[in-house]
Subunit: 261 residues, 2 copies
């Protein structure tokens, strides 16, 4: 419970990648960026060159993390919520991101649009070399907060992965990369939606501790590729109690890519 006074702004400005970029984001409401966005961004190879779309960008954490680590990447943040897009706009205007802002743009659009409607809002077919997505994957059955913004960011809709991956496949060029972060229980829906669109998928499970079940999966794939699914060694977030593991620290701070490339 917070007790905000009149002088307390409704947003925070937080450093990521040890100060490499900054995020303007809601203080108490909406979807605050954290480990998920950073792990998603880390799935992009460090040598990536080309154009990347960040579906469900929120205030821009994942897209900016890619821009910060990959100097030859250009990024479009795609966010449907006007309120979160407003934070992304403030993020791009922040002086701490001046070095990156020329390579990052914002598109306020619904990634679930199809066909001409999708192209009309700016999501053109065959326009991206990589698509990353952090879909609103908390199940509707989870205990949820009454906060409407957070609810919209987290409620799983039927067919969510089908609609998001359909659009990702449309905007992706042949052989373009895809990365997503999700809960392990979404794997059946994800694999079904990848079929015929993206292949050679690789999964890195993320476990909070070495002896606990995975809380997230990061999946990477390539448009039109034919290879089978691979399960990579997991990432363990915490070793020796609460301390972040060296790999999790490096990965979430832009020092290393998640897949080692």
């Amino acid at each position: 419970m917070t007790h905000a006074g009149r002088e307390r702004p409704a947003f925070t400005i937080d450093a990521f990648h040890r100060g490499d970029f900054w995020l303007v984001q809601p203080r108490d409401a909406g979807h605050r960026a954290g480990m998920d966005a950073l792990m998603l961004a880390a799935a992009v190879p460090s040598g990536f060159r080309g154009h990347l779309a960040d579906f469900g960008a929120g205030a821009g954490a994942a897209g900016l993390a890619v821009a910060a680590r990959c100097p030859d990447a250009t990024v479009t943040l795609v966010e449907q919520s006007a309120e979160m897009a407003g934070f992304a706009r403030q993020t791009l205007a922040h002086e701490g991101n001046a070095r990156l802002a020329s390579r990052v743009s914002l598109l306020e659009a619904d990634v679930t649009l199809t066909g001409k409607a999708r192209a009309a809002v700016g999501l053109a077919d065959d326009s991206c070399d990589f698509v990353i997505m952090n879909p609103p994957f908390n199940m509707a059955s989870d205990r949820s907060t009454p906060d409407e913004l957070r609810r919209r960011a987290h409620v799983m809709e039927d067919g969510l992965f089908e609609t998001w991956l359909r659009s990702a496949a449309a905007v992706a060029r042949p052989r373009a990369g895809l990365a997503l972060i999700a809960r392990p229980q979404s794997l059946p829906q994800i694999l079904a939606a990848l079929a015929g669109r993206f292949g050679s998928a690789e999964i890195i499970p993320i476990h909070p501790r070495a002896d606990a079940a995975a809380i997230r999966i990061v999946l990477r794939a390539r448009k039109g590729a034919r290879g089978g699914l691979a399960l990579r060694p997991p990432l363990i977030l915490h070793e020796h109690g609460h301390k972040l593991s060296a790999r999790a620290d490096a990965t979430s701070n832009g020092q290393a890519s998640l897949f080692g490339d």
Copy 2:
């Protein structure tokens, strides 16, 4: 390359679980039992009571491993190949298995049969409390040996998991357990075939070394359960070079169950 003389039998008799049971199996041809069968058997809880079917039992390794570790289990080995069923028959007749043989039977049958044909060969609906399966999962595209028996045991057919899991769901009683071992690249087909039949699936990836991709997954689920998929911490086979890890050794020798129950 072996140079078999006339006196050299075409089979071997091998101890498993450090002598708890024995397997009569082809020396050079067919599908020789190994780690896969033992890891599959280890997915059954140690306290399991009831009737278990071992689909694709070969010479009987997995089914006998369950019977050896679970004293209140009865087991039906289901094997289509007349030649492998012959080895299973010899296995059950072997004096080293006398303690177990009264609880284990052999059914020479094709698990992909449906409806009345399936029931007619002895695979009755609602008759099992657990089904385990080690399907012929090596892809047809793999480099294969000319040996016909091994080919039949290993070649993946279209719809293999769909047909095997359909039969597993039919013979399983409500809330019955399911365990299978497969390659990670079969996960899309497996998850699609589980849908509407088995739920609350849990996966343990098996990695040869901590830094290598998984070579197998062991998946466990429950008929009619509603829970989502969980990814458990992986099992690492080899630590410190070629040495079998303590957990892999205990699991493959009947000292511990794979899922810790």
